[in-house]
């Protein structure tokens, strides 16, 4: 494997890891506040559709992005309403959101565009164009550093940079601000937060809203940056891989970055090489595809450290009377 191939695989890793990372951070906010969210997939899908639909109609990808975020936040609000206000089962609400998004997107797409549940192909300003970082062309010729900068770091859409900046931002918000402290506390011991006179419901809704924003960006990235339009079920299980990454990362932002990069890397390798020959042993491509799930099971089984979810996760908060 020569150097250029390594760079290309890593470049592909960055593209594949971005939607996972955004969804993973979305799940992190929600679950840290004690709201399990298996509806990441559905929110991404809804965001993918509405961003592509609005971008196709308006010709502006930024309006599309806003529409995607709005759609995702509506579903988040629904999840919040069901699981926070009405104290319903969070898993069931999440599953319902996944079904709702899978059906609604295709139905609305067919009604609006009559192209069989897809949006028209996006052109020009209706898509996120790659951004060339300053001096990328100038340093491209410099050995080693040149290709790393111009191929790997430069040339992604703006959403990729937003996703990677979201990692330190998440860390800072969760671990260095009062809001973050309260948000984590509400996921561990909501009664204590309530005793201190802070609104549990308000904090949880805030967390779910942030989750909606991040899922919205992830969906818009799929439909308007990676692809040029929405296709039915285009998230193809990425929301679930993001959940796996979240468990793998044990609900920590920097580890979420590493987990998503690792899963993205595994996918990139699987795409580049159908079968990997390791000194006589051939690893089939299916094994690579399954690896994220296998790794997550290994982590959950407690072989590599212990994955302890936020203590109040999954439980609706009932104020004592």
């Amino acid at each position: 494997m020569d150097f250029l191939t390594v760079i290309q695989v890593l470049d592909s890793t960055v593209r594949l890891a971005t939607p996972l990372l955004l969804a993973c951070l979305a799940g992190l906010f929600s679950e840290r506040a004690g709201i399990f969210d298996i509806g990441l997939e559905g929110k991404m899908l809804a965001a993918a559709f509405f961003s592509a639909a609005v971008a196709a109609v308006s010709g502006s990808v930024w309006l599309g992005l806003l529409a995607g975020i709005a759609a995702s936040m509506v579903l988040s609000g629904l999840h919040g309403l069901a699981s926070i206000t009405f104290r319903g089962n969070q898993l069931i609400s999440g599953v319902a959101i996944n079904f709702l998004a899978a059906g609604l997107t295709v139905l609305i797409a067919q009604d609006w565009f009559s192209q069989g549940g897809r949006t028209p192909s996006l052109m020009g300003g209706a898509r996120f164009a790659p951004i060339t970082l300053p001096f990328a062309d100038a340093v491209a010729k410099v050995p080693v550093i040149g290709p790393i900068y111009s191929e790997l770091l430069s040339g992604h859409s703006v959403l990729v940079y937003i996703a990677f900046l979201a990692v330190p931002a998440t860390w800072w918000i969760l671990f260095r601000t009062r809001f973050g402290l309260r948000l984590r506390a509400v996921g561990e011991n909501p009664a204590a937060v309530d005793t201190a006179g802070v609104s549990v419901v308000g904090l949880r809704f805030a967390a779910v809203a942030i989750c909606g924003v991040l899922c919205g960006i992830a969906g818009a990235y799929l439909a308007t940056a990676l692809q040029a339009g929405f296709v039915k079920d285009m998230t193809a299980g990425r929301g679930f891989i993001a959940l796996a990454a979240l468990i793998f990362a044990k609900w920590r932002p920097w580890h979420a970055l590493y987990a998503c990069l690792l899963f993205g890397f595994l996918q990139a390798i699987a795409l580049r090489y159908q079968n990997i020959d390791l000194g006589g042993i051939v690893i089939p491509v299916q094994a690579m595809d399954a690896l994220p799930y296998i790794l997550t099971v290994v982590i959950l089984a407690g072989f590599v450290g212990k994955a302890i979810p936020p203590r109040a996760g999954g439980e609706p908060y009932v104020k004592e009377r």
């Binding site: 250029l4 191939t5 290309q8 592909s12 593209r15 594949l16 079904f99 059906g103 192209q115 069989g116 549940g117 897809r118 192909s121 799929l222 990676l226 692809q227 040029a228 339009g229 296709v231 039915k232 079920d233 285009m234 193809a236 299980g237 996918q267 990139a268 795409l271 580049r272 159908q274 491509v285 299916q286 595809d289």
Partner: protein, 332 residues
């Protein structure tokens, strides 16, 4: 879920009014969905053409999961639909279970040729012959002497496509490199354009400058990325040249629309048995229209048409992947 309710309702409604009404044909789309711009859409177009020409109506269902296959078949047969047309190789097992129970119903199975039942019209296509022709065109259009193949789900049928393609490429340029990838091993591989895009980028970085997508909805991503990156792509099943005019070299046509149209036209009297439609029957071919006219040179067309004539006359034989589950020109 809503689909099931609707279907149940429809079945119940029909059960009440059954008997006197003239049998309608029914069409069962595979998991890719009616509008996959490819295989299933071709069937839809054929059915629509029949409906427009005859003013007839037909019933249809888009399968959402594997479990619905047998259910849908039985419902249509119970409801008196005749003939019942199914799409895709995966209907073979449900068909072999259901068909004997409804001896008076005619079934038409597209992409199935190995069943033993008196009331099934089984239609196969010589995809390897059509793929061979587009493979020749790919090799002639390629400047890097590297061409790509992206399949959908890794099944023998898709390998059959890839195998014919590889033979066509090698026939023009024995030294050409063929980069072949499959999108996945589950039915979701038919609908993952993002993965299709990544595979395309990966093949481009390995030098491919013409890529043939035989991947249903995933192919939309392949064609899109190929157009974005300025290389040529080849569509499949339906004519996909119009998706990116001037960027799609050609499309391997599989005339599913004709097969469906003919079956519907014949109605209950449709002839059963096994039929394989190849170049000679115009069941497969390559697409040439105003969108790719500038890409296909006269010389290219002449060579391909010559090969086509030779295949029809039997002078040139394209090896089928099915013969011994391996391909002389390509390793999977």
């Amino acid at each position: 879920m809503t689909l099931m309710t609707k279907l149940l309702g429809a079945a119940a409604g029909l059960a009440l009014s059954a008997g006197a009404a003239l049998a309608e044909p029914a069409l069962i789309f595979d998991l890719g969905g009616k509008f996959d711009k490819s295989f299933n859409e071709a069937a839809h177009n054929g059915a629509q053409r029949w409906a427009d020409e005859t003013g007839g109506t037909y019933r249809e269902i888009e399968l959402q999961s594997e479990a619905q296959r047998e259910q849908a078949l039985r419902r249509f047969a119970e409801a008196g639909a005749n003939p019942v047309i199914t799409m895709g190789f995966a209907m073979a097992d449900p068909l072999s279970a259901v068909a004997p129970d409804y001896p008076d119903t005619k079934f038409v199975a597209i992409d199935v040729t190995w069943l033993d039942a008196p009331n099934i019209r089984q239609i196969g296509f010589a995809e390897h012959e059509g793929s061979y022709l587009v493979g020749m065109m790919a090799a002639m259009a390629s400047e890097s002497d590297t061409v790509g193949f992206i399949g959908g789900m890794d099944i023998p049928l898709i390998r059959h496509f890839g195998c014919g393609y590889a033979q066509g490429v090698k026939a023009v340029n024995p030294d050409a490199t063929i980069v072949a990838n499959m999108t996945g091993t589950t039915p979701s591989a038919w609908n993952d354009p993002v993965k299709g895009s990544e595979l395309t980028k990966s093949q481009i970085s390995q030098g491919a400058d013409v890529i043939y997508a035989a991947a249903g909805g995933t192919g939309v991503g392949v064609l899109q990325t190929a157009a974005d990156e300025g290389i040529l792509s080849i569509g499949v099943d339906s004519n996909q040249n119009h998706l990116h005019p001037g960027k799609v070299l050609t499309s391997m046509l599989k005339r599913v629309d004709v097969a469906v149209y003919d079956a519907m036209k014949a109605g209950e009297a449709v002839e059963t048995g096994v039929f394989v439609l190849g170049l000679a029957e115009e069941g497969v071919g390559y697409a040439l229209d105003e969108n790719n006219a500038s890409l296909v040179s006269a010389e290219m067309q002449a060579m391909v048409d010559e090969a086509r004539a030779k295949i029809i006359s039997g002078e040139l034989e394209v090896a089928a992947y099915y013969t011994n589950d391996s391909c002389p020109a390509l390793d999977f």
